[in-house]
């Protein structure tokens, strides 16, 4: 996937031959897009528009008499809403930890897989395993591992002599937070590795050879040859994983339900609870739009930062 900012003004082999765009081309392009646009338009555009419309309303199913149009009042109320603010703090921390771990582990894993060694094929297959696991199953799996009474982790650590007695890992706020982040990373790592591996596979081997001739060390080779080629795939990873992390729900819901206290009450969990349990559709829709806008702004931020530094045109 390429990023729009990069696309603009960059000549491509195909378009060079026909620089003039004709009306016929545009019509043809939209004709080709029509099926996708119709499906997305009919099925998603209305729900999205409707949810924004709802977010401008005071609308709780339990209070039909109080329904009314309130402009941006739902959004303004968020500034003084302790539930939202605490959830925002947790979410930001969650996104940062998940992204950090994903990028570090994903890059390391992709680099390892890009080398030749015995068993590379096996590891390459193993990396796909977490991708095949539905979020709900992922949550259930980590529950049985971190369980305070029968969990595998407790058993393992005790047998290794690292703990004296079974610990309730999910009951401390920090523990629960780190474990949910860890479980989320495990589940989403494969997609990251695939993208990064795909990026690595396109580095021309002459570049490495050149670096070898220059007697560049491992670190130098990484920063001078590999990293520039990885910037673009990393950007895609950052955008997609930011979207995923802001929307992370299944795993957390099954693992902690948002607790203990507010420790893992990320905005997606709060959002689902507000809409479906508290039936506050107005406020819930406002939460959703905050997530959307934050994700959008961050994505644009990633793109423009890299674009301005001119590193994107590898």
């Amino acid at each position: 996937m390429t990023i729009t900012a990069v696309d603009t003004g960059k000549p491509r082999s195909g378009t060079e031959q026909r620089p003039r765009r004709t009306m016929g081309d545009t019509a043809r392009a939209y004709l080709l897009n029509a099926p996708a646009m119709i499906v997305i338009g009919l099925l998603v555009a209305y729900p999205i528009g409707y949810s924004f419309w709802l977010s401008l309303h005071r609308y709780n199913l339990k209070l039909p008499a109080l329904e009314r149009f309130v402009w941006f009042q739902n959004y303004l109320s968020l500034i003084g809403d302790p539930a939202f603010l605490s959830s925002l703090r947790v979410t930001v921390a969650f996104v940062v930890v998940v992204l950090g771990l994903t990028v570090i582990l994903g890059t390391a894993l992709a680099l390892v897989l890009n080398e030749t060694f015995l068993g590379r094929g096996v590891l390459r297959s193993l990396v796909l395993l977490p991708w095949a696991m539905p979020g709900v199953v992922n949550g259930l799996m980590w529950r049985t591992i971190f369980d305070a009474k029968t969990g595998a982790l407790n058993g393992l650590l005790l047998q290794l002599g690292l703990i004296d007695s079974y610990q309730a890992w999910l009951t401390s706020p920090t523990g629960a937070f780190l474990i949910t982040a860890f479980a989320q990373v495990w589940n989403t790592l494969p997609f990251t590795v695939i993208i990064l591996l795909a990026g690595l596979s396109t580095i021309p081997s002459e570049q490495y050879d050149a670096a070898k001739v220059d007697r560049a060390g491992v670190v130098q080779r990484f920063t001078q040859v590999t990293l520039p080629w990885l910037l673009h795939p990393l950007l895609i990873v950052l955008i997609l994983e930011t979207m995923n992390a802001f929307r992370a729900f299944d795993t957390i819901y099954v693992l902690t339900g948002g607790g203990p206290g507010d420790a893992t009450n990320v905005i997606a969990v709060l959002n689902v609870r507000t809409v479906l349990t508290y039936t506050d559709f107005g406020l819930g829709s406002a939460y959703s739009w905050v997530i959307t806008i934050v994700t959008l702004v961050i994505s644009i931020g990633y793109i423009s930062t890299l674009y301005q530094r001119g590193r994107i045109e590898v």
Partner: protein, 284 residues
Amino acid sequence: MTKKVVLHVLAIGFALYLVVPFYWIVNLSFMHEVDAASVPPHFLPDNPTPANYLGFVNPSTDQALVGSNAVGDTPYALLNSLVVAFSTAVVNLVLGTFAAYSFSRIQFRGSQLLLIVYLLTRMVPGIAIIIPFYLVMRTLDLLDTYGALILSYTTFALPITIWILKDYFRTVPRELEDAARVDRCGWFRMMWTVFLPISAPGLVAAAIFSFMTAWNEFMFALFMTSSISSQTIPVIAANFATDLNTQVTLMAAAGVLAVVPPLVLVLICQRLIVQGMAAGSVKG
């Protein structure tokens, strides 16, 4: 030399990280329920039993009680998941190919904006649209059918599918098309016989991506379905967790079954997936 050592240590470390958690539920799935709760835990089943898996075909009275017949439903849920995920992948490829072709070959007004709009639809959280979406499905009389799920997941996966495909299509040399055109070959025929076969890695990568999106999704599946005629495996897996008669070994077995079909699929296609994604990852 040190590099080799570091490499192998890292490789083994990552292999353990990836496989040990899954191994634990595989291990549980072959245990008797009593052993699953033992302290210290058994890292190998003492006397392994296939009973949990056999239960899905022919549940015992105890097993049948779990999760309002979640055990009996599991094979059907797997089938439903397969049908839904496969159909989602196919529908996505068809719709995505047309759209992606336009982005890769035609310079047209609004193309940038359209691409962004596609992606924007993926930034809105599912919970925001689930109620109106439910309504649309109800109006179309699609609730509790495969149709509702296939349509939902198509809209989820289509934007990314288009992005993956358009990048791959750009790597296909234009000369091939021109050659086909010289042969007075129609566009559809050209696509079918020349363009798409060459784009196979991109198509596979996009198809797998949509398949996984459909396979893993939980919340829409929960809301759009109400019976085993369309419930998918995450919905049934959740039943194992919430029920009063739950058995952790059965739940583990269902979890393992939920992972196997997509895993087999990605293992078969792994080389093509990386190739297919490579086009877009780097080319500007």
